[in-house]
């Protein structure tokens, strides 16, 4: 009855696979490979295709005809009987966790033609494409629940294993999410938002010449200056000095942020973990924290004779508080049950700290670090405006003093971009360290 697929027949197989729920949005390449392992079979009207409790070997995709799919009663499907026609997929029991036998009996009620795909071969194939393969498995799970009305508890599909998936890094997950993002409307809405903003800027300053906007540097002006090999006011993408300013600011933020992290995280962990430490330190902490960073500038200059360290110190200070505070909140947010469970399982105090407190606080720590990198830029620019040479804050301030208005905007936009990149780096580092969270959130979005 079976016949290997010949050329031409493969196209037909791909066409029908595309009509199915699980393979509906798979790539051409994957469909071709699946078609490559599919075999064609024909059943006469009334023929039994398989019976409940048979070994669950092949998966069936209906090409033409009609079959009746009847679950055995123990399965607890909401609808035991289902008619399957072209594009219908059955015989997927082998994909379920811990399931090796057929859950249903299937009978052809018309002359029926199907594709048969060996379950293990299919799983092997999906494992070689872990991202797409995982997606296909998820679609199988939702088809089994929605179309075949199987209870959620039973409709758990196997997890693709194999070296690739086990090592499937957060990086590939991030890339996968990126590709999903690009396929969604969000990036295009974002572009529209930017276009509106830039359009308003252009019209308000250069076309309508609205009061108050008239004196602002215009969009075309700024862009021309920024892209000019010989800029009027001396700073553009072609000038080495531009990059020296960026490098200087980044280097200062990096030092401040690094210090704030290596000091802030342990202090925060201790604050959350040790009641007596908190009683000593927290009141002081809470008194100093609300002081705006600008108020520290004079003292910082007095404290550090070298302006360079004063600037770094200011970048450090605000982010230190943000990091320590969020880390403390992170520790305090950890559900008591986790600590109790670890105690039951025989962990000592240090092991609880290492295996429960630190990982449990990590989501809050990274929220803190995101805030911290932002305030670090904020205080850096403030500090650079007051003292120091080089740096983006310095550029903005001196351009104001020397009436180079387009350069002010170049400095501001550059700050925006560099600031965004650094905070994205922090987020990526967080995703990398908290794969469990990335996956949980990815599931929640579905």
């Amino acid at each position: 009855m079976d016949a290997a697929l010949r050329l031409g027949a493969a196209d037909e197989a791909i066409a029908v696979l595309r009509e199915t729920t699980p393979f509906g949005d798979a790539s051409e390449a994957l469909l071709a490979r699946i078609a490559g392992i599919a075999r064609r079979a024909r059943y006469a009207a009334g023929a039994r295709i398989y019976s409940a409790d048979d070994a669950a070997d092949d998966i069936f995709v209906v090409l033409s005809g009609r079959a009746e799919h009847v679950f055995k009663p123990e399965v607890g499907a909401r609808e035991a009987l289902r008619r399957v026609t072209r594009g219908g997929v059955f015989g997927w029991a082998g994909l379920l966790l811990g399931q090796t036998q057929r859950l249903a009996t299937v009978t052809a009620i018309e002359p029926t033609e199907v594709l048969r795909i060996d379950t293990e071969a299919l799983v092997g194939l999906l494992e070689s494409e872990p991202l797409e393969g995982g997606h296909v498995m998820e679609r199988f799970a939702s088809m089994i629940q929605r179309e075949f009305t199987l209870p959620a508890l039973l409709a758990q599909v196997r997890r693709l294993s194999g070296p690739l998936t086990e090592e499937m890094s957060s990086l590939s997950l991030t890339l996968y999410r990126l590709s999903l993002w690009l396929r969604s409307p969000r990036p295009y809405l974002m572009l529209v938002g930017f276009a509106l903003f830039l359009g308003f800027w252009y019209l308000a300053v250069e076309v309508w010449k609205l009061p108050r906007f008239r004196e602002m540097p215009g969009l075309t002006n700024v862009v021309r200056e920024w892209l000019s090999p010989s800029p009027t006011y001396g700073l553009s993408l072609y000038i080495a000095e531009y990059y020296q300013h960026i490098a200087m600011s980044v280097w200062r933020v990096a030092q401040g942020f690094f210090l704030a992290t290596v000091l802030g995280v342990p202090v925060g962990l201790l604050l959350g973990w040790s009641r007596s430490f908190k009683e000593y330190v927290f009141p002081v902490f809470e008194t100093l924290r609300p002081i705006p960073i600008l108020a520290w500038v004079p003292l910082a200059i007095v404290m550090f004779i070298a302006t360079e360290s004063a600037v770094v110190y200011l970048a450090f200070l605000a982010s230190f508080f943000a990091t320590a505070l969020n880390t403390m909140l992170g520790v305090e947010s950890i559900d008591e049950s986790y600590v109790r469970a670890a105690n039951c399982l025989g962990a000592d105090r240090w092991q609880v700290f290492r295996h429960v407190i630190i990982p449990g606080a990590l989501p809050f720590i990274f929220t803190g670090l995101q805030i911290s990198i932002g305030v670090s830029w904020f205080s850096l620019v403030a500090a650079e405006m007051v003292s120091g040479q080089y740096g983006l804050g310095y550029v903005i301030w001196t351009s104001y003093v020397m009436v180079r208005y387009p350069t002010i905007v170049i400095g501001m936009v550059t700050l925006g971009i560099v600031g965004y990149v650094t905070s994205a780096l922090v987020r990526i580092a967080g995703d990398y360290l908290m794969e469990w969270r990335v996956r949980e959130l990815a599931l929640a979005e579905r």
Partner: protein
Amino acid sequence: MTRGHIVIEDVVKVYDPQGAAVMAVDHCTLAIEPGEICMIVGPSGCGKTTLLNAVAGFHEITSGRIIMDGEVLCSPEKPRSTPGPDRIVVFQNGALFPWKTNLDNVIFGPVMQGKLARKEAIDKGRAMLADAGLSGVEHNYPGEVSSGMRRRVEIVRALMNDPKALLLDEPYRALDSLTKSVMHEALLEIYYKNKVTIFFITHDLEEAIFLGHRVAIMTTRPCKPKKILNVDIPHPRDYSALTSKRFRELIEETNDAVHEEAWKAFQAGEKEG
């Protein structure tokens, strides 16, 4: 079988927030036989969790003693027992570490205690997960699998330590009734293989009678046994027991007692801690 004999003797627990004493457990005496499934039923807020936490060692008792296999866990001299892998709690809301994969959760106990090297623990953990039909989720994080599966993984995590007793605090409370029924059979299956003492708290009388050898019906707060029921339906049981005549009779026999306490609790406006 002589492991997991827990004797609760005259235990009193008074919470004392700002001097306003709340008596949660009142001279409670109860013996849990080795290897039995002892179910504790009582209305919400009656003090069941308080009693279980005293056995587990999560807080002190005010007076009385708790003894396990001849070892005094807590007494007036040492009011708080030390939590340890001989009595493992399965929590109401689940306490698998979400940042560890299911397999890493399962091997946590033996590795922390230094009883097994990581590699041996992994072999044992894999085997135990496979035994419970959970092989497919080894490398998943708990947040990625269904809540019913999480509960099973959590029980496997406990059994990895070869405990004398499992202390379950309404573990299936948040599950839908279908999942719950599957979980009951899964728990019994695990129990028939491992034969640990099970101390199981619930407010669901049917659950209690279906699972338990004995059911202790507790009074509303302060909590102590009001009535102890021997469930003479033979083990091993499966879901057909639920529709048996004897099961219905036992429910009828005890329903009044449970309902009366629930009504008292309702009138007193009890809520959980």
